[in-house]
Symmetry: C3
Subunit: 269 residues, 3 copies
Amino acid sequence: MAAAVREVRAANPLAPSITNTVTQNFVANAQLAVGGSAAMVYLPDEGECVAALGGAVYINLGTLLPVYEETVPRTARACAEAAKPWVLDPVGVGIGSLRTELIRAVKAWPAAIVRGNASEIIAVAELWGLDAAADNGRGPRGVDATDSVEAARAAAVAIARFSGGAVAVSGPTDLVTDGAVVVRAEGGSPLMCSVTGSGCSLGGVAAVYACVADPLTAALAATAAYNRAGAQAAERCSGPGSFQVAFLDALAALTPEEVADAPLAFEEA
Amino acid sequence: MAAAVREVRAANPLAPSITNTVTQNFVANAQLAVGGSAAMVYLPDEGECVAALGGAVYINLGTLLPVYEETVPRTARACAEAAKPWVLDPVGVGIGSLRTELIRAVKAWPAAIVRGNASEIIAVAELWGLDAAADNGRGPRGVDATDSVEAARAAAVAIARFSGGAVAVSGPTDLVTDGAVVVRAEGGSPLMCSVTGSGCSLGGVAAVYACVADPLTAALAATAAYNRAGAQAAERCSGPGSFQVAFLDALAALTPEEVADAPLAFEEA
Amino acid sequence: MAAAVREVRAANPLAPSITNTVTQNFVANAQLAVGGSAAMVYLPDEGECVAALGGAVYINLGTLLPVYEETVPRTARACAEAAKPWVLDPVGVGIGSLRTELIRAVKAWPAAIVRGNASEIIAVAELWGLDAAADNGRGPRGVDATDSVEAARAAAVAIARFSGGAVAVSGPTDLVTDGAVVVRAEGGSPLMCSVTGSGCSLGGVAAVYACVADPLTAALAATAAYNRAGAQAAERCSGPGSFQVAFLDALAALTPEEVADAPLAFEEA
């Protein structure tokens, strides 16, 4: 993890995004804060182009536009063809039909990292027809989790085994797995839930680290960096407005050692 | 008003939005700061879906996309069919033809709360053919008001009587009416005009309160909260950048009593 | 330059934008901070409408949507027909085919100010077939410059001579030219590159100044204001999050004299 953090600061890798309009600015600024470079696009041939240009692509389904019907599958396929990792953030899965259709479509070129809250990870496992996923009989609630992180453990492991990559489940205790090990990470701050885009920007930062590291290391480095910077920012702020400002400052100031020293608990999957 | 503020913090209601891309992030963060939950969408079936999921929907016409031609009427109709309140923010009315067309179309399922600056409220009354609205012979100026709040009093009352809901006119002194009473609210700060999205996010917060309260109470609570948080933030900032940060902090820290104690002047409509 | 800064604060001119969704909020807040007014649109007839309403239009090609195929040329033409200046920010030129097509299309109604990083300016000169532009044989990298400002000098001069306006090349030392003189401006801060939208918002502010001043003066005033505010903000911040906040505060507090006193080095083109 320390090596990934260091290499990103040295190499300034480009991790382009197709991401929601609500939190685009925060995603880009978080990617810059850790030392990466950002570029956001919407059009199909632009998705293919940035997949070729970048080291890893971040695809977030938060605010779908009609053109995403073409852009998302073509970009995922372009990543697969160029052997570039991509990160899937299945925000709001269950809202509308296109979101469901796109998640099913990209199963053909699965993301190296799937990042989401517990409800989103369970929904992806269901849509991909993976064994571990029992239909929980609940519909979408919006964009917030209604399931606990532990409830998504089996779904996360199943997705990681299917994709050969990693899955990161965000929550009070985060869970990251590559299908072989399950890692739990503590830290962060409840204030992260009071700023829109904490999860999205974590996905964007995971894509930056995926430019230089394997999916598990990238997902863990991003998670550890967020927990550390979130805890530091919480000490220096007076509410959600100043938390976001302090968080970007803390993220930019993190040393590789601070990220690597994050307390992680490993177990077999 | 105090009850609405308290209930929102306890229940964390979801107030989804179809809102402009310029200020989406601020709208979402303001909704989170008062204790609500946010989700933004663009597609027609997603608008219908979030109308069913949420407690109230915020529709802001600031940056129209082609798909809004379907999304806005279908979402307004879905709200009506589900008996969910929705908030209309007619930003930029007069710019282009789709904006005019959409405002006319949603007259069939009128918003529980219409929020805008004076010029926008007058324009909506005109487009809805309401008596009080005299054509003022001016075209659009952009997104800023060119009429005084008092000039919009009759239009606001007419809209509220037509819709059976409430209308909130933002300005140096705000005016809120349900067609029976007219309430004027002081406070806030001129700095609110130097931060884009102060009005939009007020509309989004009104939708959060409309999840748990009647339209007049929701509009007044949002207006009072903004005036109080705006005044507090103005004391703690050094310009528009730090004002926005301090404003979100203040909004998150507001007590129900501070909102309820806001100075309001009531008169018959 | 001092007169332009003063007149903008007095007249609050409207500089509408068609601009990318990543940095829209920062563009609008920067335009407000210098005393202008902002409005962002996407649809073709809205572009034409705001070209008529505003004093100058800012067009940024960062995140293209399908509708831009019509909106961008129609808005550029509407500016030309109304003799309104417009500012072109060719972000991400080289990514996808529509971007290239749009830059070629607007050559018919060239921008009064073209603002970009060195790579973008060289690319525009190439796409417009201007003599000074030698094909540098490199493809797009994303949205960041891979060429030095000095390498773009000839391209900038050629564009300015063709358009009869000005060109601003952003970099460690900025270069601004009207085809007759070349001006270099020092200042700013490396932190400006760690906040997404520093360049975009400079373009938006140049459009605000272009409402009241000739293209060269407007481009220089915006560049000088950014360098001054950037240097001030860098002294008061603890990282990229607080830099952006301090930058907007500093921009709002700048005096006409501080902008006019910026160190500029003139030479013949």
